[in-house]
Amino acid sequence: MPCPRPKDTPWVHPIGHWRFCRRRQRAAQHAPAGALRACLESPLPSARHVVADCRFLAVDLETTGLDPEHDAILSIGWVAMDGVRIDLSTADQRLVRADCPVPEQSAVIHRITDREAAGGTTVDSALDALFEALQGRVLVAHHAALELGFLEEACHRLYGVRPPLPVVDTLRLAERQLRRAGRPIPADGMRLHTLRGRYNLPQYRAHDALFDALAAGELFAALVSQLSPEARVPLERVLFRPGWLW
């Protein structure tokens, strides 16, 4: 039984928030001039702002495996959200030219072959485009730890910094909602596609970074609408690990 929180206790602890801001400032100072630094310097919405007034970027990474230290990013897809409105004009993705051959297994899942990957861009410029889009926005991803891990690792390798990013994890958000509703959480039931069925969202055939980003964004909109139809819910209620990160 989770301990009920007193109503006026903030989800984001002031000390945690102060630490988060400091780490972000420091990372910005160490980052080379460019999109990453601009992104880290961009002002963040207050955690008390309602979701409807915040801006998000739904992101999905396709990778050669699950280990950020050994596996590589294959492609990055994203789409911007104003509040919970997804703006398709911002939908974009980058294929990353792989330095190592694409393992057969992940090629089957993502349908990215060596040849296609070779036609892509460098991780460097893919991240540039991503951080450009991420300025002033909160990242939304399904099972965000994976996205965060790969982004931090790649930035560390390229720029020597691990950027502290505010994140919404749709998997954790869904889990929390199901648990609060007293529903059992089925094995395998937290996968993006299973959850989408639950919220009457269309099933996309495509399994690429762009459509998975879109899928995560739609799921986020659906989850927020369960909390408040007009998305009048404070940002801190939906943030991933608010006490730590913020």
């Binding site: 398709l88 939908a91 974009d92 993705q93 294929l95 009457n200 269309p202 762009l210 879109l214 139809p229």
Partner: protein, 615 residues
């Protein structure tokens, strides 16, 4: 590199209303959309949405209501709402929905760049013309085939001076069933026709085979022009109960051929002619009832032959007119001679020549002013006899008592004149129904002079009566077309809406009512809905565009109804007007919705004009 939103483009392609846009337009549409997730019971369109936006339902469902909280539309997957054309509508989400939104400024921007999209947005009520024109009629159908393609060319002509035996010999030699006859010396002008039937009758009557054929032939001879559609020739035969028509080159031109009912039957013809003949020959009510059992299959045949609603309506009405006439004759034979001249009137769809197999009786009676007071009892007995006869033949009595066995619908000429004047000059809303019936009345048996002058005088008066026009316009407005209806998947999910659509009440009657107003406005005496609309358009009471829209909408809905009934008959169920929407194809569904929109639009705009202009 921009990602490909291929799946969303494919989805837009599947939306019936967007399917007709060029694919480049749909592609540029995709990148201008925003996505919203709206929960069940939240308002739709959302309160923050300005007008001029386009909404496309990806998943889920919504309902729309007008200012009076009447359900106007249900939207399901793939349905579209253009808020520029739906002011005063409000609604709510009935099932959690993912919706694509095209914001107003983006819609304007795209319209500025893309002509196809601009047209699409401006014409919220899309034109039906193209699809309606391409609906069923095949190339080989009787409607499009001119008589000249079916006739036997260069028919054998003989002088009237032949003897009966000589005529029979010529017919046997040439293996023909009818011989055209001309006056000696005038060889391309048939004055009479001798058929197998005439020969048989002559023989049976003991006529001398040596007598002149002129004494036995049928005359005068009805003819058709070679360019007449075969269907019209068929109708002409059915109405006159004849089986041969000489074909001329143009009206009253020289003879070029002869058309027999067999020629028509051979070309997917119908048994309309035979049905009428069998009715005329039937002796007694039971025989009539047996003949009338073939009526449903006549409608099936007509539908299969590609006839449109007008033609089917004309044919079925002809059959039912004939049946009524036969029943009247039988009743007269039973009740003795009529005490005064009288005429039998039909109203409703029969009056308008728009009957289908699923119909009921809307009839009235008028008798001469000179009838003695006790005559009324005889007419009442006649009305009872005929009404019961029609009911026995499968035509239900009128649920609204439009029936000459009711005194209201059985009057002398001058009594009718008073009653119609009363209703048309100061119609109360309660009288609106009566007024519509009076305007559709048509003589189907007996002398027309007993009623036609009354109707003409009434039209003269109604044309100037603002009260009548506005009463009828109000009535026309109350018949709301269902601006939308359930798509298949919405039906399945929301089981309580597993409803059907009444194509007659909700689809045709609104147009019929509109046509009546516009025709009255134009001072036309037409009865048929299409004739009324054409007359109104011709007289300027109805704009070209709206007129064409309503004509197309009527044709489309009425033909759909005829086809629906044919399908029901084929399946062995009783024909009615209830259409289960999920039996429609996506395209038909989309056309039907468009037709309803056109009607709703005409109700809103054109009616107001018809009321305003003073005669």
């Amino acid at each position: 590199m921009n990602g490909e939103l291929e799946e969303i483009r494919e989805f837009l392609e599947r939306c019936p209303e967007l399917a007709r846009l060029p694919s480049e337009t749909r592609t540029s549409l995709v990148r201008r959309l925003t996505l919203r997730y709206l929960r069940e019971d939240s308002p739709f369109p959302p309160e923050d949405a300005p007008p001029g936006e386009l909404w496309i339902v990806r998943t889920g469902a919504a309902e729309l209501y007008d200012a009076q909280d009447q359900l106007q539309d249900r939207l399901g997957e793939g349905d579209l709402l253009n808020t520029a054309h739906t002011d005063n509508l409000h609604g709510r989400i009935t099932e959690d929905a993912l919706i694509y939104q095209l914001e107003a400024d983006r819609a304007r921007d795209l319209a500025g760049r893309d002509g196809a999209f601009r047209e699409f947005i401006d014409l919220g009520a899309d034109r039906l013309r193209a699809p309606a024109a391409t609906s069923p009629a095949g190339e080989r159908s009787l409607l499009t085939t001119p008589v000249r393609a079916l006739m036997t060319p260069r028919p054998i002509m003989s002088p009237t001076s032949l003897t009966l035996r000589e005529a029979a010999q010529r017919m046997t030699e040439a293996d023909i069933s009818a011989l055209l006859l001309h006056e000696p010396g005038k060889e391309d002008l048939p004055v009479g026709i001798l058929t197998d039937t005439d020969l048989r009758h002559a023989l049976a009557a003991g006529t001398d085979p040596g007598c002149r054929v002129a004494d036995c032939m049928a005359q005068p001879v009805a003819s058709v022009s070679r360019d007449t559609p075969a269907f019209d020739a068929l109708l002409r035969m059915a109405r006159r109960d004849i089986h041969h028509l000489p074909v001329t080159d143009g009206e009253n031109g020289p003879l070029v051929g002869i058309l027999s009912s067999t020629d028509l039957i051979r070309h997917q013809g119908t048994s309309a002619v035979y049905l009428v003949r069998d009715l005329r020959r039937a002796d007694g009510l039971d025989a009539l009832r047996d003949v009338m059992r073939a009526l449903p299959s006549l409608q099936v045949q007509l539908v299969e032959a590609g006839a449109d609603a007008t033609q089917i309506g004309q044919t079925i009405t002809t059959v039912i007119d004939t049946l009524t006439q036969c029943l009247i004759e039988q009743a007269e034979a039973k009740l003795g001679p009529a005490p005064a001249a009288y005429a039998w009137l039909a109203s409703g769809s029969q009056g308008r020549h728009e009957q289908m197999v699923h119909t009921d009786q809307d009839t009235a009676l008028v008798y001469d002013d000179a009838a003695p007071p006790e005559a009324d009892a005889w007419f009442q007995r006649l009305a009872d006899e005929v009404g019961e006869g029609l009911a026995a033949c499968g035509i239900r009595r009128c649920p609204g008592d439009v029936d000459p066995s009711q005194p209201h619908w059985r009057r002398s000429t001058s009594d009718w004149e008073r009653e119609i004047r009363r209703v048309l000059s100061h119609p109360s809303p309660r009288d609106a129904m009566l007024a519509t019936h009076y305007l559709d009345l048509r003589v189907i048996h007996g002398p027309t002079h007993l009623f036609e002058p009354v109707r003409h005088a009434a039209l003269e008066q109604g044309y100037r009566s603002e009260a009548l026009l506005s009463t009828l316009a109000d009535q026309a407005r109350q018949l709301r077309p269902p601006l939308g209806f359930f798509r298949q998947f919405v039906l399945e999910r929301g089981g309580e809406h597993a409803d059907t659509l009444d194509l007659k009440m909700r689809g045709l009657m609104p147009i019929v009512a509109l046509a009546r107003v516009f025709a009255l406005r134009a001072g036309s005496d037409a009865r048929g809905t299409l004739e009324r609309l054409r007359a109104a358009r011709h007289a300027g009471a109805l704009s070209e565009g709206t007129g064409a829209d309503l004509i197309d909408a009527w044709q489309f809905i009425a033909t759909l109804r005829a086809r629906l009934q044919a399908e029901q008959i084929r399946r062995g169920s009783a024909p009615d007007n209830a259409l289960p929407p999920n039996e429609l194809s996506g395209l038909e569904r989309s056309h039907l919705k468009n037709a309803f929109r056109l009607v709703a639009h005409a109700q809103k705009t054109a009616l107001a004009q018809a009321e305003q202009v003073h005669g």
